[in-house]
Amino acid sequence: MLAARCALGLASGAVLLSGANPAAAQQKDLADLSIEELGNIQVTSVTKRPERLQDAPASIFVITGEDIRRAGVTSLAEALRLAPNLQVARVTSSTYAISARGFNNAIANKLLVMIDGRTVYSPIFSGTFWDAQNVLLEDVERIEVIDGPGGALWGANAVNGVINVITRSARSNREGVLFSAAGGNRESDAAMRVAGPVGEDGAARGYVMGFHRSGTQTVGGTSALDAFGRQQAGFRADWGRTESNFTLQGDTYSGESVSIPALGPVTVAGSNVLGRWNRQFADGSSFRLQAYLDHTERDDPVQFRDQMDIYDIEFQHGFRLGTQHSVLWGAGYRYAMDRTLVSLLVRFIPADRDLKWANVFVQDEWSLARSLTLTLGAKVETNVYTGAEFLPSVRLAWKIADDQLLWSALSRAIRAPARVDREFFFPGNPVLPPNPVGPFIINGGPNFVSEVSNVGELGYRAQIAKVASVSLTAFHTVHDKLRSGEPAPAQVQNGASGYTNGVEGWGTYQASRDWRLMIGFSELRQHLKAAPGDPAGTSAQGNDPEHQQMLRSLFNLTERHELDFIVRHVSALPNPVVPAYTAVDARFGWKARPDLELSLVGQNLFDAAHVEFGAAPGASEIPRAWLLKAVWRPDR
């Protein structure tokens, strides 16, 4: 359902349906596209509406399955590096710090991440444990990376961005069986997937995959104790007809990372199952009902140790009102049972807590004129800590010409308290008699309320002469009530504030039939004010580069040989200082046979190792890596 919400959101201002006869209007729009544009239309869109990203009034970058294949990456987190509007820093072999528009660290908390409509950030800290999340990349249809607030559609936590990972429908697994294996100096990976039709109108697939990653060395020259292995299996079934169709999918995984030997390894595990029903009516209206269960376990002897069960149900309904309005509304309820244990650094009081969220939202896409669309949206979401939160947004899209869009948006986004804001005690087991437990240095945050961000955005997007496209977005975000600390004995407070300005942009250029170029950049200026007396200052808000640039080249040497490069530059991080780095990745792909694809990937080619995040001497150095990969599709 969240995926559909996204898709419907994207369609804001997209196809200007005439209202009287939506089908005819769609026909007209399709036939008015150029042959190049037609070739870019997804034919299995979630909403069954042809969507043109060109028309979405938001800063959206889409990583396609083909982009992922040609980058030669082997994990979801690495695939996200392809989005120029994200900051992706590898902290260790297994952990990443990923954010958009700043506030990045390993417990970054202002980004909403979904996999096929399932929210995967942890209510423990409102962030994503990247070592627990992965998908079979060969089955990813696309990853939508939406920078900026998405609260009006997606709710609290979608403050600085939304990542929406969408896997292919099982019906589109036309090639059936897939085996892939990869090995290199830093990792080894293997995966197998089977797929095929089921009955008259269904299809299913199942997969298993696993990998092992070598540990890294720290700047100080010791082992970072972060070698990591992980295995996962899952399935997805899609059946029914266009008017009424169903999806059932699920995954189970477990992983283990080396840690401080005396304390034992860090283990993660989880299982989830999700069902979704889409119904479409002849009048163009549609509804979607989705429910899922998500069980996660994490046992990190140093940081978080918890088991969580999440139950989530959501409903949405879209319909046209008159000739000018396209309305989408919905509601959702989410229940989480969290059970924690004390670790070296962390104790939650109470140890166990049940959390509840309920929401209702409505969005109206109002065609003011043929080229002008106003999108008004609002969501009310409740949580157990602060009650109801209001998340409104206004978006205006002006289609200057068929291939040019100017848009602007004003939004209010919040980050509601997570357990770590309210119930976090540090260290885990202070032993200072005569107290049975305590005193703690940090004593929860009983007064912590939601962080608030008010965001203004201005964007421009254009398709130039059929061969190039460009997107530029400027934003100004005013942050208030940001999380802060105070001198011990401390409680978590809302004492920090400030504002962030930035510009992000990217362009693609089809230089010739066989050569495609992409550039991207993001510029970020943060003006943050720490709470008086906060010993961590503003460093607790994150550690972000001011500049980030990326150049990507995809070249078809022949019909069967591909040579691809990615050059990424990330400027220095201020606090703690991490030097700037430039990484060059290359991939040579060879379709040896119609059913066999081989590739050689080199990452970080011109640099023995560099730090991406963390303070020396303990920070991990991310070394040069190479990888040989084979993908065999015997049914092809």
């Binding site: 150029s34 869109s45 089977v194 039709p197 477990s254």
Partner: protein
């Protein structure tokens, strides 16, 4: 891998393997695909030059025949209403394999009629007729343009030899958009 996960993996794989036996492609859930293909069929006309003999008069319509894809023909009829190709009106006809194809300018043969693909393409050989298909190996059988789905997007391959035989000229821009162009050997 812990024992529980391993068991889950094995179960899932067994279940998936059981359902993975190959079966013919289904006919539903293609409305969207056919909508895009219909738009392509209409657009192709602008990038193809027919010999003069293909049209009786300067204002004769472009005739598009559709075999084995009624859904596509319906979409296409809606698209072409009130539109023109190279200044000519466009007319769409639903046909069956074996129907006469003389006078057509574009002929689409859907995969539902794959059994007759060879004979229809053989009958089209040498005619000033743009044949468009959506079947594997159709180019080898003499089709000019063959649709393929790549990453859920509709792309197409072009074979120049049958186009040459029918005296059709295909514009460089269309060739540039094609996924693959099979040149005369």
């Amino acid at each position: 891998m812990n024992a529980l996960t391993l068991r889950a993996c094995v179960l899932l794989l067994a279940a998936a393997a059981a359902v993975a036996a190959p079966r013919p492609a289904r006919a539903d859930a293609q409305a969207d695909e056919y909508r895009v293909k219909a738009a392509f069929l209409y657009k192709f006309g602008a990038y193809v030059e027919w010999p003069d003999r293909a049209f009786a008069q300067a204002d004769s319509p472009v005739l598009i025949g559709v075999i084995g894809a009624d859904a596509l023909a319906d979409e296409l009829s809606q698209i072409v209403a009130g539109r023109s190709v190279n200044g000519r009106p466009v007319s769409v006809r639903k046909l069956r394999a074996g129907d006469p194809i003389a006078g057509l300018h574009v002929l689409f043969i859907g995969r539902a009629d794959g059994a007759h693909l060879g004979e229809v393409l053989a009958a089209a050989k040498g005619r000033p007729l743009l044949t468009v298909t959506e079947s594997e190996r159709a180019l080898e059988l003499g089709s000019v343009i063959n649709f393929v789905l790549v990453e859920d997007k509709v792309r197409f391959d072009i074979a120049l030899t049958p186009a040459d035989l029918g005296s059709l000229k295909i514009s460089a821009r269309l060739l540039a958009v094609a996924r693959k162009v099979v040149k005369p050997s």
